[in-house]
Symmetry: C2
Subunit: 652 residues, 2 copies
């Protein structure tokens, strides 16, 4: 057995013992794979952790984190202090790998299946950029490697994204499978008896099976690099190899004690010496990982200099894009040529056509087969799937896969990414949206068909519970515009996000354009739309409810009640304004009425800002298949009902 | 071409024209499939829409609803009035099929992929019951048929559940594929180039390909019924056949006008006569569907009578189970023999062992490979996957699939179902939980590892945003107990739900058992845990925060401030109590402090009930990989911070 691999295992088992808990099974089984990848193939450099042409590595089975930390430690990228601090506060070796803009982790993982999705996203980004920067393509020519466990392969998102990767012939994507036959509760075969070779062939992947001998793994990867398709390499390993539970599902999270350590020493014929290893071990890794990587990096820097002299503009653009500097779309989008009184999704369509005409090519966008309905298309016939020069991806009916791939595109860098579907189907994507927000990616979504007014397609297609789901996540901001001007403000946010997830929510049904929206005021995220000094009452809402509030306002006027309408296109950011701004805006004689077709109690936060009454009217129930406008009214979103609530609960 | 099939198409195109919108593509393409299924195979009876041994049919591609409504109409199960009312208010022909306990729809569908999951659940239920009631097994011997579109096959949940069905050899499950080569935005092949035959073989399914000729389809289904595995039948069809957009993705939601009708008439050589059809058409369907079904039903009734005389107890149990009458677990669960001061998940484990000893066999339960961690296991070695007599399903790492299958089990009837995973991974299941709640299924979940105290596994595994996601859905109730007594109350709810989704949320870390909980009071869903007359302040919370509030209470006492602790294990149901009960409980000198490790603003609803101040302290951010107890404290969930908030914001 390879003493270098065993040193990695030794480091892993000690770190897990010190932490008091950990995933021992994979820390033993996966080391031959990470060892081979990093010592032979993966190019990373100490000079720049986020070198744009580094090979990407995703540990999709995130619980195997020690198999990654150990190779990074011996190669000089993570200190021993950090290893000893595994899973502790502020450590750089958390339980599951966590991406940051400064470390050597390319991807946060943990929820299974999504790592492979993010890997597919990275490979998509690489292939698009290689095409976009054709003349200097060697500068973005890296591979993407993903290590998956048996659990990943059972998750739907894994099938979705691997299927798309097969369709796209992503030949620079290589997936290695730590195939150890065990999962947490049982043997893999107790719950999963797929023929992986057939599965891979059915989705247009190449399949290679190999032992866990580093030489076999190396040969398999070499073979994979010659393939014209993505390759799946099944590496037969032994879970918890060398522990008391070797080969058993109980090895998965096995607690490490002194007895385990002595079994380990016997099995590997190795001495465990309190995190001490021979210098020769370090030398082996440093020359093969760090020094090899640095050579590659230095070569790349030379190539960059040569390219700079030949194609200065192209190189500048490439480097800028990787610094998240993109075309400012605010100047491209022209409000004046918009057809008014449309559904907000139609403004999406019109703005997309303006972007298309401007030949913007620094943003990948796509839809889970609803681009024609969400209006997020340039020209659907010219798509990325048929030619990698086009930025429009046909994701297929794979919502979760799409959002996971979007995370991968953004992790890769050099591109923006926006994807779309119906708001209802955000449900499929929740976990990917969450992890994207956690990684502080500038992820943007366009969700249309935003409430009961979807109508005839029935309650499965009528969202009311999605806004609270999305707004509950730290760093996810939901924008819900009421007209073309607020839509422009939403686009400005969707395209300029730096480290936030931005979600634009749009209607299917037409809304009025005649509200006196001031574009600049939108950026307060909540503002006085209809002015009124010393109002009797404040009316707050977002999106389609602004039209409704306007009719309420007129009715109140007929009763000599003066109201102010406050449009709040981004409720969360509205509350980030200073207290005085909010309090002044909400100050009135009687109180505040707020309304939204969502079951979001975040609106109750308004109560924090006012002395007098606040009543919120929301949506807390499924709709039905019927005319959308009527359904909206029946759910209480009609002038008469609101006037009654206001009279009985505020103006009393 | 078959004139009966064409009459179905004619009805469909007219209904869609009348509705003003609809899914024309599949209303044309899928009719040969639904025609063959219902006229030749599916046994349903007018005498009892929910006849327990009827064949189950799931239209996974729910937008093809007219291909189902049309056959149900001609066979006498849906009136012409309802057909004319397609997609209108209160109609029995909504845009997507909707299950009710009284109609002939076995399953609500719409969000793609989940129909197949529910079909797998039905087939699982059938096979378990066939085993449980072995002596009278012919009484539950039906088949489950699922019709899928190309979109279904691209959804992750479809792969997950078909993979499990293959592992389980569910030979009474037959899936038919309306393979029309088109999806909404493009040709299927533009986004999806899988080899379906290989895919099916890789997951242990049989595969048959056939034309859309009803005779070919019939022969394929006959063949499928002889198979020992589940069978996938790919039926090559033409989307929107006979319309102007025949064979094009534009046919998907094609608007029907007079021109389309005349093209239709020409193509099918059929006269469209304002919803009028020859009596012979009706006769054909009535004899082949309704009369054939009724014969089968009458035969079943006879068999039932014979069985009753031989096995009266068994038959009574079978019939009771299908009336949702199950063993009352309240009498089985014994609080007195519980080990105290444990994590609430450990009470789950202890109660499960009590149920195991009682040999309860009317409930299927399982986990997405985390039963050992959620403690929801009887005896993992004796599982359903290895022998269909055991009620414990090893779902594999397929969370979405699991919840979708659970919906199918409950739709089938005759069983309860409970499934489990970590609370964080509820994210994967949101859409299935939503549709289960919409169908008013008695769906129950056990989610453990419920907050920051998960600790070392890091922010991907630390939930804080899941409770608002779940509580935002109509008909979903979240229970979060603080000790073994409240856990018993939660179990009582999980096992006795009639038409609600019940979710129990449990801790990984130990909690104190020494609170004076009164079991009966728990059923108010919020109650005075620590009594205090004329309190200065009210302290509200749930689950792990009760221990914390207790320490706060003691500290306040040291400062001569009298507090009452109100434990609220089910926040949503708490608000369903009458106003007086809530107001009295929350009445105090200064105000109310509430706390929960979630970003749920539903707590702000407390403000509605009190004149004086309410402050809520929640969780609105991701955690990190570190000691869970410390993390909990750092997020502000510690006595000192709370005392400060109370002093500065309420007691001022």
């Amino acid at each position: 057995m390879n003493k270098y691999v065993n040193s990695m295992r030794s480091l892993g088992i000690q770190a897990i013992m010190k932490a008091g808990q950990g995933h021992t099974g994979m820390a033993m089984s996966a080391c031959p794979i990470t060892y081979t990848l990093f010592t032979k193939f993966i190019n990373i450099s100490k000079k720049n952790p986020k070198w744009l042409n580094r090979d990407r590595f995703v540990l999709s089975a995130g619980h195997g984190s020690m198999s990654l930390y150990s190779v990074l430690h011996f190669s000089g990228f993570i200190s021993l202090k950090e290893i000893k601090n595994h899973k502790q506060k502020g450590s750089k070796t958390p339980g599951h790998p966590e991406y940051s803009s400064k470390n050597y982790i390319d991807c946060s993982t943990g929820p299974l299946g999504q790592g492979i999705g993010m890997g597919v996203g990275m490979a998509i980004a690489q292939s698009y950029l290689e095409n976009k920067f054709k003349k200097i393509k060697s500068l973005v020519s890296h591979y993407t490697y993903v290590l998956v466990g048996d659990g990943d392969l059972q998750e739907g998102v894994c099938y979705e994204t691997m299927s798309l990767a097969g369709k796209l012939n992503l030949n620079k994507l290589i997936v290695l499978h730590d195939s150890n036959d065990c999962q947490l509760d049982a043997k893999v075969n107790d719950a999963f008896n797929e023929n992986l070779e057939l599965r891979m062939k059915s989705i247009n992947w190449d399949y290679i099976k190999t032992s866990n001998d580093p030489i076999d793994i190396e040969n398999a990867i070499k073979l994979a690099k010659k393939n014209k398709k993505p390759t799946f390499i099944e590496v037969k390993t032994i879970i918890g190899e060398g522990t008391s539970e070797q080969g058993s599902n109980k090895a998965h999270g096995l607690k490490v004690d002194k007895n385990e350590i002595s079994l380990f020493e016997k099995y590997y014929d190795i001495k465990v010496r309190n995190f001490k290893f021979d210098k020769s071990i370090y030398n082996h890794f440093i020359s093969r990982v760090q020094n090899r990587g640095t050579k590659k990096y230095n070569k790349w820097i030379k190539d960059l200099e040569i390219a700079k002299s030949k194609y200065p503009k192209l190189v500048k653009e490439l480097l800028n894009n990787f610094k998240n500097k993109f075309i400012n779309i605010d100047k491209i989008i022209n409000l004046d040529i918009i057809n008014k009184n449309q559904a907000t999704r139609d403004y999406v369509g019109q703005y997309f056509q303006q972007l298309y005409k401007s030949k913007i090519n620094d943003t990948l966008f796509g839809s889970a087969d609803l681009a024609s309905a969400t209006k997020t298309t340039f020209n659907i016939k010219n798509n990325f799937n048929s030619n990698k020069k086009y930025p429009e991806i046909l994701y297929g009916i794979r919502e979760f896969g799409m959002s996971s791939i979007q995370n991968g595109i953004l992790l890769h860098g050099g591109l923006r990414s926006i994807s779309s579907t119906f708001l209802s189907f955000a449900d499929y994507m929740k976990s990917a949206i969450r992890i994207g927000a956690m990684m502080e990616l500038p992820s943007s979504y366009i969700f249309t068909h935003d409430s009961y007014q979807v109508g005839g397609d029935g309650p499965t297609h009528q969202p009311y519970d999605q806004l609270p789901m999305l707004r509950s996540i730290q760093n996810v901001y939901v924008y819900r515009p009421c007209n073309e001007i607020e839509t422009k403000y939403v686009f400005s946010n969707l395209f300029s996000s730096k480290n936030e997830t931005s979600i634009g929510v749009f209607t299917r049904q037409p809304l009025n354009s005649n509200h006196p929206t001031d574009y600049n005021k939108c950026f307060m995220h909540g503002y006085e739309l209809y002015k009124q000094s010393n109002p009797d009452i404040i009316l707050c809402g977002s999106g389609s409810e602004i039209d409704l509030l306007f009719s309420v306002k007129k009715e109140l006027e007929n009763n000599n009640i003066k109201s102010r309408i406050v449009s709040i296109p981004c409720l969360q950011k509205f509350f980030n304004n200073d207290n005085k701004y909010i309090s002044n805006l909400l100050k009135s004689k009687y109180g505040v009425f707020s309304i939204e077709t969502s079951s979001d109690y975040l609106w109750y936060k308004i109560k924090d800002y006012i002395d007098n009454k606040h009543v919120h009217f929301g949506a807390y129930s499924f709709g039905e298949s019927m005319d959308g406008k009527k359904l909206y009214e029946e759910k209480g979103f009609n002038k008469e009902n609101i006037i009654n609530i206001i009279k009985n609960q505020i103006l009393k």
